[in-house]
């Protein structure tokens, strides 16, 4: 498997088709990142694809100071922020702030055919609560939470993607966790009691 830098160099020399290798390599992660922001498959696909096209257009500006994936995630995260800014002008259009979160509108896998049905109900309840809580977060806190917890990036990677210092990211994560606590604590208490 060719390193990213080698592919980028080839693309910049005019071998455009090799960009497809980068797309294949990161398309799933890019989709998941966009999906964790917007919560629906269609918008996630569009935003992730837009991110790849933007990255291609700006490829000459990529100097390799960070990994290509981090740079790509940053572009996609900004696409998602712009998407929310545009959507916020149309009330009720935010996928992650739905009040009557149906199973389709939570971004997590809930079905576990082998599991206890009571667990499935609990999982749905928790998924709805997490979805609501995240949907209500200010954009910086939401981005930090989504990147760190839903996409599993380290604090340093989140800081690179968000263009903030790690300390600032930790502060956003702290605030996000506090907001989430209010949403899921009552449910967790009943879970502990059982």
């Amino acid at each position: 498997m060719a390193p990213d830098a080698e592919i980028i160099e080839a693309v910049l020399r005019g071998d455009t088709e090799r960009y497809g290798e980068l797309v294949e390599r990161y398309q799933l992660a890019a989709w998941k990142l966009a999906f964790s922001f917007v919560g629906n498959a269609h918008d996630a696909q569009e935003l992730a694809q837009d991110g790849f096209v933007q990255a291609y257009r700006r490829l000459r500006q990529f100097r390799g100071a960070s990994r290509f994936s981090t740079w790509l995630y940053r572009i996609i995260a900004n696409e998602c922020k712009d998407f929310f800014r545009a959507k916020s002008r149309r009330p009720g259009a935010l996928s992650l702030s739905v009040d009557n979160a149906e199973e389709d509108s939570v971004p997590f896998e809930l079905a576990d055919p082998a599991g206890d049905p009571r667990d499935a109900i609990d999982a749905r309840e928790v998924a709805v609560r997490i979805t609501r809580a995240v949907g209500r977060l200010p954009m910086n806190q939401r981005a930090a939470f989504v990147l760190r917890h839903l996409n599993g990036l380290s604090v340093e990677e989140v800081a690179e993607v968000m263009g903030r210092r790690p300390g600032t990211v930790k502060a956003h994560l702290f605030r996000a966790a506090e907001a989430l606590r209010g949403q899921i604590e009552p449910f967790l208490k009943t879970e502990v009691r059982r």
Binding site: V23, Q49, A55, R57, Q61, A123, G167, F174
Partner: protein, 181 residues
């Protein structure tokens, strides 16, 4: 449970919960379609620049349309006072027979008029305000395309943060947010 404990506990709890209930996966056939769609858009970027810009930027179409309209208007206005070639030729023939305008005898009037029209058209295009607007848009677009998506420098530090550091950072974030408000 203190805030610090809660943070660590929540992180572990979320990690476990997401193992059982991960983020949803993309629809079937996603990988092939996704790559094909992206590459199709990128190949379209390789198309001649004028075609790309025309499709991406309606202002270009409006600008070009405006310039053409201006050129046509100048051409029509410039030509309207003139007489059809045949009429001019008839009149000059009369004058020539009357002994006047003998110097017109060797003149190819039709080609001279065509040449004059060409000059009018060329001057009109050069003087059109739409053409300079188009150039400005071109420069603007170039500048926009050069706008960099900055790569952030590598960040130091670890996941661990002391209470003092966190309080200081929270204060700083709050101040920044207040300033933005």
């Amino acid at each position: 449970m203190s805030s610090g404990d809660w943070q660590g506990w929540l992180q572990d709890w979320l990690k476990d919960w997401l193992k059982q209930h991960p983020l949803k996966t993309p629809p079937e056939g996603f990988e092939r379609r996704f790559r094909d769609d992206v590459m199709a858009r990128i190949r379209a970027e390789q198309a001649p620049v004028w075609r790309l810009r025309w499709s991406l930027e309606p202002r270009w179409a409006l600008g070009l349309g405006g310039a053409l309209a201006a050129v046509l208007a100048v051409a029509v206005i410039g030509r309207s006072p003139t007489l059809p070639v045949q009429e001019i030729e008839q009149e000059t023939a009369v004058l020539f027979e009357a002994g006047e305008m003998a110097y017109l005898a060797d003149l190819d009037l039709e080609s001279e008029l065509r040449e004059a029209d060409r000059l009018v058209l060329a001057e009109a295009a050069a003087a059109s305000p739409s053409s300079s607007w188009t150039e400005f848009e071109n420069d603007l677009e170039l500048l926009q395309s050069m706008e960099e998506e900055p790569e952030t420098p590598g960040a130091g530090g670890t996941d661990r943060v002391t209470d003092e550091e966190l309080l200081e950072e929270l204060r700083r974030v709050d101040e920044a947010e207040m300033a933005n408000v």
